[in-house]
């Protein structure tokens, strides 16, 4: 409306100009210390430039001095909502170098815990997404169900968030005797509670108006920006690592890769809700028959990888997480590179947010499901 605005005193058209504003690094809806440099005209966004570096901890460099067993606990602190999958990626990469095959029991337990982690991550995302739109109720409901999963983790591996449970060569401990019982009880509970999520948000008229058609990302753009995970799948980009490069026990289970064509915020929301149903079905297929056997393969006290390069990717709750290890034969890697899903997903933000209002930027950012320590490691 800039052209029609006039000065009320003189009747002449007002001169407008682009201006610049910082969103963050201390902004409640950037979910951490992310600084966005916005170029605006009125309330319309012309350009978004993410500015990183506020919580850079040089994790990749720290990995170069740590042993392979010690690296695992650093990956917890990147994408803390899918810490188990991060641990698994490093463990699988090291096991690839050691050329050991995991027992069936380890594979199945890793897969169950991965899916539980995905569920808890999506639950937290659902709660926080509601809160970004101004609905505090969803936040409390999401955390209520997440608490049950966290209890399962706490009983089995002792930690609630930074689990450090997958180690090169298997698992740190065997599962707790209550694990199966609790997990079954949770799935039964959550099958009844997930429809409540739909009742609270999905059909809500305000919610639909704020998400439908906002922040559209086409399939071509998703591929060119490397957007993976539920965000990419909402644009029709089939990228599920569990389907295309199955690892652990994923070859044994049947599940659908959730795909949608619209590519807007509502599609990304629906993909995650649908993924929760798929995760529950994967858990149900595995939980009844956890094979007996060792929870760990005997490895040397200090693991040394043979000289070479190893790459392993896994599907975290946010997308494709990759670990690239270059070993010179020593007890710590020569170079270790993480391919984090959040970083690539964030790179598409400018493209999606051009021309929308500031309030919609919050919606787009929230549906990307950004975890800042994952982007800025």
């Amino acid at each position: 409306m800039a052209e029609t605005a006039t000065n009320t005193n003189t009747g002449k058209p007002l001169e407008t100009q682009e201006y610049f504003i910082n969103m963050g690094p201390q902004h409640p809806s950037t979910h951490g210390v992310l600084r966005l440099m916005l170029t605006l005209e009125g309330e319309t966004i012309h350009n978004v430039e993410p500015h990183l570096g506020y919580i850079h901890r040089s994790i990749e460099k720290m990995c170069e001095k740590d042993t392979y067993a010690q690296i695992i606990h650093l990956t917890d602190r990147m994408d803390y909502l899918s810490s188990h999958m991060n641990n698994e990626a490093v463990s699988l990469a090291v096991e690839q170098g050691l050329e050991v095959e995991m027992p069936e029991r380890v594979k199945v337990i890793r897969t169950i815990i991965s899916e539980l982690t995905r569920l808890s991550s999506h639950q937290l995302w659902w709660g926080v997404f509601g809160m970004d739109l101004g609905a505090i109720t969803s936040f409390l409901y999401g955390f209520r169900d997440r608490e049950m999963i966290i209890d399962i983790f706490e009983e089995t591996c002792g930690a609630r968030l930074t689990m450090n449970y997958n180690v090169p060569g298997g698992l740190m401990f065997d599962i707790h005797p209550n694990f199966q019982k609790r997990t079954k009880a949770f799935v039964e509970h959550f099958r009844q509670k997930l429809p409540e999520y739909d009742q609270l948000l999905t059909g809500n008229v305000i919610f639909e108006m704020r998400t439908k058609g906002i922040g559209i990302l086409s399939k071509e753009d998703a591929i060119s920006f490397g957007v993976t995970g539920p965000t990419g799948r909402a644009s029709g980009f089939s990228n599920d690592v569990r389907k295309h490069n199955p690892y652990s026990a994923y070859p044994q289970v049947e599940f659908n890769e959730v795909l949608r064509e619209e590519g807007d915020s509502y599609a990304r929301y629906k993909v995650r809700i649908q993924e929760m149903w798929e995760s529950m079905s994967i858990i149900e297929q595995l939980i009844e028959n956890i094979p007996e056997g060792d929870y760990k393969v005997k490895t040397k006290a200090v693991i040394k990888l043979p000289k070479g390069e190893y790459y392993q990717k896994v599907e975290t709750a946010r997308g494709e997480f990759g670990v690239y290890i270059i070993s010179e034969g020593g007890k710590s890697p020569y170079r270790l590179k993480f391919r984090s899903p959040g970083f690539s997903n964030l790179s598409a933000l400018n493209h999606m947010a051009k021309g929308v209002k500031i309030a919609d930027l919050v919606v787009i950012m929230s549906t990307l499901d950004l975890v800042i320590p994952d982007i800025d490691r």
């Binding site: 002792g158 401990f173 009742q199 008229v205």
Partner: protein, 159 residues
């Protein structure tokens, strides 16, 4: 005319979706037994963490004030952050031989990431994780702890 009917019906269907969400909230208001909120710290007596919970590292002592730590420093090596420092000393045994025992088992709680690697590395099961999770103190220096109790000794038979 049709447009007006459509407009009014859209208002009513929108209102319906709002009440649908409110119904869920109303259900929990009228069913207080389904609410799972806990009141902390009022429930301190009943609040028990799981046995596996990683609260902080402790050195277990027996009733006769004996611990199992031989001072081998395996935990110090396993720790990724330099949380544990073991300071050894040499004492003279009754038979005249000199023996290495721990002087101080220093634990920096402020640096600990609770990764559990020290517990796994201990060859004599001297240390374990306690379930205490209330670590808040007023001064940072209080987070550096000496885990072996004064005048404690190495347990007989542990080597």
């Amino acid at each position: 005319m049709k447009a007006i009917v459509k407009y009014i019906s859209s208002i009513f269907s929108a209102l319906k979706t709002l009440f649908k969400g409110m119904a869920v909230t109303g259900h929990y208001i009228s069913h207080p037994k389904e609410i799972i909120t806990q009141q902390y710290p009022e429930n301190r007596e009943t609040l028990k963490m799981f046995d596996m919970f990683r609260g902080e590292v402790v050195l277990t002592h027996s009733e006769s004030n004996e611990h199992r730590c031989t001072g081998c420093s395996a935990c110090e090596v396993a720790c990724p952050n330099g949380t544990i420092e073991i300071i050894n000393k040499r004492i003279e045994m009754p038979d005249g031989k000199k023996k290495k025992v721990i002087d101080k088992f220093v634990y920096h709680l402020s640096m600990c990431t609770f990764c559990n690697l020290c517990i796994l590395s201990c060859p004599t099961d001297a240390i374990k994780m306690s379930q205490d999770f209330e670590h808040a103190v007023f001064d940072r220096s209080q987070l550096t702890k000496v885990l072996n109790k004064p005048a404690s000794k190495l347990m007989e038979g542990v080597r």
